[in-house]
Symmetry: C2
Subunit: 433 residues, 2 copies
Amino acid sequence: MTTAPAGATGPGPDAHAAVTAIAREAKKASRVLATATRATKDAALHAMAEALVDASDRIVAGNAEDLERGRRGGMKESLLDRLALDPLRVAAIADALRELAALPDPVGEVVRGSTLPNGLRLRQVRVPMGVVGMIYEARPNVTVDAAGLALKSGNAVILRGGSAAASSNEVIVEVLGDALAAQGLPRTLVQSIDAFGRAGAVELMRARGLVDVLVPRGGADLIQTVVRESVVPVIETGVGNCHVFVDATADVAKAVPIVLNSKTQRTGVCNAAETLLVHRDVAATFLPAVLAALGEKDVTIHGDEATAAALPAGLRFEPATERDWETEYLSLDLAVKVVDSLDEALEHISRYSSGHTEVICTQDVTSVRRFTTELDSAALIVNASSRFTDGGQFGLGAEIGISTQKLHARGPMGLAELTTTTWIVEGDGQIRQ
Amino acid sequence: MTTAPAGATGPGPDAHAAVTAIAREAKKASRVLATATRATKDAALHAMAEALVDASDRIVAGNAEDLERGRRGGMKESLLDRLALDPLRVAAIADALRELAALPDPVGEVVRGSTLPNGLRLRQVRVPMGVVGMIYEARPNVTVDAAGLALKSGNAVILRGGSAAASSNEVIVEVLGDALAAQGLPRTLVQSIDAFGRAGAVELMRARGLVDVLVPRGGADLIQTVVRESVVPVIETGVGNCHVFVDATADVAKAVPIVLNSKTQRTGVCNAAETLLVHRDVAATFLPAVLAALGEKDVTIHGDEATAAALPAGLRFEPATERDWETEYLSLDLAVKVVDSLDEALEHISRYSSGHTEVICTQDVTSVRRFTTELDSAALIVNASSRFTDGGQFGLGAEIGISTQKLHARGPMGLAELTTTTWIVEGDGQIRQ
């Protein structure tokens, strides 16, 4: 185990001491980075990118071990594909670091400020969080993304990746650490606690005061476990039971492609649509058109009776149950329901949504106004695909996840969301009366 | 128990069902308020203020029960004073609601926005959180402040006050509810769970999904309990081990009043200074002056040897121990240490600070730059009193607390900090390629 983190004494009862030591090192390293200039950070990102490409063979070899273990363990082909690295994928991961270097530095941004009546000069300035913890699943590109986003935003990162990608991540973290050290930065800016297994993750969730924020990324089970167990502040990401509502006045020629794109452009992602609601007044023209188009994409429809009645021949159909309204399929399945009114649509969405993204297709200004003020989701989209809820699409640059909670960050989380602020007050002797 | 909350079945095993029912009512009420105009909310605030003044006699009578119980239980005079209400204090509490009405509405503010290359019009808009939970201690004015801040920011509030103020709070919540109902708003916008005691507080901390944020306000024990036990996102407030560092180049004529004001203007508050660090190069002139001034205010000095050597006759003095550097006295006590350099001061503060407020007195630009970039606290103040870290003083209006965590809010939390944002995206048929 050549890359065991500093202080590591193996999994088990010593995880507490080891993870605490790692977190202290991270905190110390974060202080160095907090005052680093953008030029220093961007140079480090380029060096990290180059080091990954240079180490492509070693990374692919480590990844081969993971794939072999995965195959022996009966991992599904789709998961094996997400885990797999080849030189082309390593190059793409490295490019993401170069793109981060091109983004503006969030640190130092003056968020607001004023001169107070007593002459105090007040400004609220963006500063790094300090230490960011990531608990995530199999994909090794997340290791690099998280390291890059943390570095650019001035933070140290502690990584707990899935065991399925352990060998890939071990090599990647070592390569990134070497690149940082060669740039004169602490290699402890990017540390892994994978060596401590589940016990390490538990310690990370308890390290309040040493770890400033924890971002879980993965399936609903992983996220809920972290939310429940962590005393470190958590940002909840990623579960999306997204809706598209096609209103009475919708432009059918636009609504059909919007539904198709929302459902089928990519299915395994949190901003894909899972339920389609159709206003009864437009159902006769819209439903046959959209169902035929969905059928061509092999989508299975889970519909109510009105949907069943409009179904073209040859489509896969199952009668919808309560469970369908709640389900984030992440597959070529779509729940479909005909509603009598905008009110019924709003009611349905309020009840079943996970608060991620909701779309309305309409030509009516009152419907737009009500849909965008009465619903309580991270993104409310009018006449466009749900797939636009994304940091890159919103022009925020890279994203570390999509927050579905309301505290701190909501929706796509980029560099700014990995910072906090400090109030700086400058006076010349003012005291309070 | 005329004001038992809807669904209340008494303390004990039914707290879960009762608090869940209360939280659901709050959520429903919050939806009504989310789309209310500023005019509606301000009218409600004025009506609430008027109702409190009209009910002054009943509130003072309820408060008398609390005071009587407190006296029998041996409550300290200083706490009895903070608990006590008379018509003048009720009027002051009501005025705070009128001041809230005068502040701009945070809801609807466009935080940022742009038109994307594909023509999508994107804006990030401030919206209410939904349901805010407050767990706090004895002072009944917090009941009204919390209700007012929540209402103005478009949120419903669930209150768990200290048992010491139970009778006062019971009357106040009933009066506020009547005022809301008379304005055509749900009285469930302001609900108390005091009837369920500790079991109710536990349920509130578990109501993730129904309660959007929990703000504990009170002593360190209360706050730490909530941080540890809550699965609802928490904003940690209020512990302040604040430092004043008097640098080698400090203007002594300004530094003495700054130290005095930071320590003695009010002692029981989180932005009072608890430790004074003095650069050795200025100690000979500064220390005798500041110690004499502190002595006149009856401050007890907990000092190192260099401080002891400079001590004027007649001052209360105790040799400082490690414990003194860690202590938030909240009293007329001050830890004092002479340091050799700015580096030693920064090191000391980084080690012992609770991350609230740090002050530097200096005439040197490099010291200002390092102090305001290398320290990691909510407020960094140059040449002014620590007592300025306050929502009112910063010009933010009323505050619900001072956050010492980094997520969501840091420093004084006003109306904007009780909101979240939604991304609204308007297109005309865009789909993702």
